[in-house]
């Protein structure tokens, strides 16, 4: 099935309907295996059991960035190739990206608390994630504010791409800002190296999270397509009511 076939919303919905149950099952299985491995992994000699928050924190961080990458690819799809489902993919990805970013922030905060004594320090990595979170919320606000989905798609696409270019710059400047004010890094997420016994569960959890993301994303895309259909039907209904 070529990508162009997916451009048809009804065919996409049919595809989504078939794929979703399988994706869902795969997600549940992956989480089952991952959590089992995570709970059986050894405790860190320094941090104790709290190191296991990393199995939630690190995959969320990866997904928070992957989601923006997905949105950027979709943005190109909208602006350059005019693929009709690109903006649906972008719109569906934004709240998911925001959610995973928030999860990353919260787990990072909880993980750091025993060490910091407070819920938040302006640590370089977490601060970059916070800025990323604000950018996701901004994109979501823009989707909400512009009425017409097609116009909204183009505006959001431009913003997403500018954000994509800016993100490495933001990350660099936040790192610099952090070292400027705190010569020694207070807290390194994930420790200086990750022990091999923790790598395997981390890998499985990363796969589980990714599957979760795509399951939710596919479902969200399907919902958005249906939402647009409702909108079109309402417009037709208004026209049909007739009279000038």
């Amino acid at each position: 099935m070529a990508l162009i076939d997916l451009a048809n919303p009804s065919r996409f919905r049919a595809l989504a309907d078939t794929l979703l149950p399988w994706l869902g099952i795969a997600t549940i299985v992956a989480f089952g295996v991952g959590l089992d491995q995570a709970l059986r992994a050894p405790d860190d000699y320094q941090q104790g059991a709290t190191v296991k928050i990393m199995f939630l924190h690190v995959p969320s961080a990866w997904l928070s960035m992957m989601a923006w990458g997905l949105m950027s690819a979709a943005a190109l799809g909208t602006l350059v190739w005019r693929h009709p489902l690109a903006d649906v993919a972008a719109k569906a990805a934004a709240p998911l990206g925001a959610a995973f970013t928030l999860l990353c922030l919260v787990t990072g905060s909880l993980w750091g608390r025993p060490m910091w004594g407070t819920y938040w320090v302006w640590d370089a990595r977490l601060t970059s994630e916070l800025v990323l979170f604000l950018m996701y919320l901004g994109v979501m606000a823009l989707w909400q504010t512009i009425e017409d989905p097609t116009r909204a798609a183009r505006a959001v696409a431009v913003l997403t791409l500018v954000g994509a270019i800016d993100l490495p710059i933001i990350k660099f400047s936040v790192d610099w800002w952090n070292t400027l004010h705190q010569p020694a890094s207070v807290f390194r997420v994930g420790g200086s190296t990750i022990d091999a016994s923790l790598l395997a569960p981390l890998f499985v959890m990363a796969i589980a999270f990714t599957l979760l993301f795509f399951t939710l994303h596919l479902a969200a895309m399907r919902n958005e397509i249906m939402r647009r259909r409702v909108r079109t039907l309402m417009m037709l209904q208004a026209q049909a009511a007739g009279g000038h």
């Binding site: 009425e147 309402m234 000038h244």
Partner: protein, 200 residues
């Protein structure tokens, strides 16, 4: 009931928009204000509605409710429709009805203007003619003696114009007054005319 304006003048935006305008409208009568664009027809209506400053002359509504101002006894139907796009057709009408002291029968009023079928649609989806008809539904559901209609037939098709004419005749038959601005006839055969224009 009688609306009388004598030597009305309006100075706004740095220029004398109206001066020396006089008219009398008795109960059951309609006055059609005619004239070229920019001559001040809309301003005259807004002046009566209390929405434009009266810099001279007198305006009186005899036989009306002494407790209320003239503005509170008029329906002002201007160029704008006062509709909120994110509210449904029914929600828009219900709000104005409750706020302006009208009745509860929005369904009947919507049916009268042919919008009953789309009462639950957000007003954003309405065409210009449908929005104008929703404004007209306001005239039906809220009873006020004086109607100020600014080019009411704009955006309406022939059927809707005929229906509006019918509503106006009913209103006049019930002792109401109409002051309307237009470029030409609006379906009221027996309307008096007031021509604005010439040197101001």
């Amino acid at each position: 009931m009688r609306l009388s304006g004598s030597d009305l003048a309006c100075f706004r935006g740095g220029r004398q928009v109206l001066s020396g305008v006089s008219f009398v409208i008795e109960a059951g009568e309609a006055l059609l204000v005619l004239g070229p664009n920019g001559v001040g027809k809309s301003t005259l209506l807004r002046l009566v509605a209390g929405l434009a400053p009266r810099s001279g002359g007198t305006l009186a509504l005899d036989g009306g409710d002494a407790e209320l101002s003239i503005a509170e006894q008029t329906h002002y139907l201007g160029h704008l429709d006062a509709l909120k796009p994110s509210l449904t057709v029914d929600e828009n009408l219900t709000f104005w009805s409750r706020f302006l002291g009208g009745g509860e029968g929005t369904q009947a009023a919507l049916a009268a203007v042919g919008l009953a079928g789309i009462a639950q649609l957000p007003a954003a989806y309405l065409s210009a003619g449908q929005r104008r008809r929703l404004s007209i539904a306001r005239l039906i559901i809220i009873k006020r003696p004086l109607w100020l209609l600014d080019e009411p037939t704009t955006a309406l098709d022939a059927a809707a114009q005929a229906q509006l004419a019918g509503l106006m005749r009913e209103h006049l038959a019930g002792g109401g007054l109409i002051l309307a601005a237009a470029h030409g006839p609006i379906g009221l055969a027996a309307a008096k005319e007031l021509r604005l224009g010439g040197a101001q």
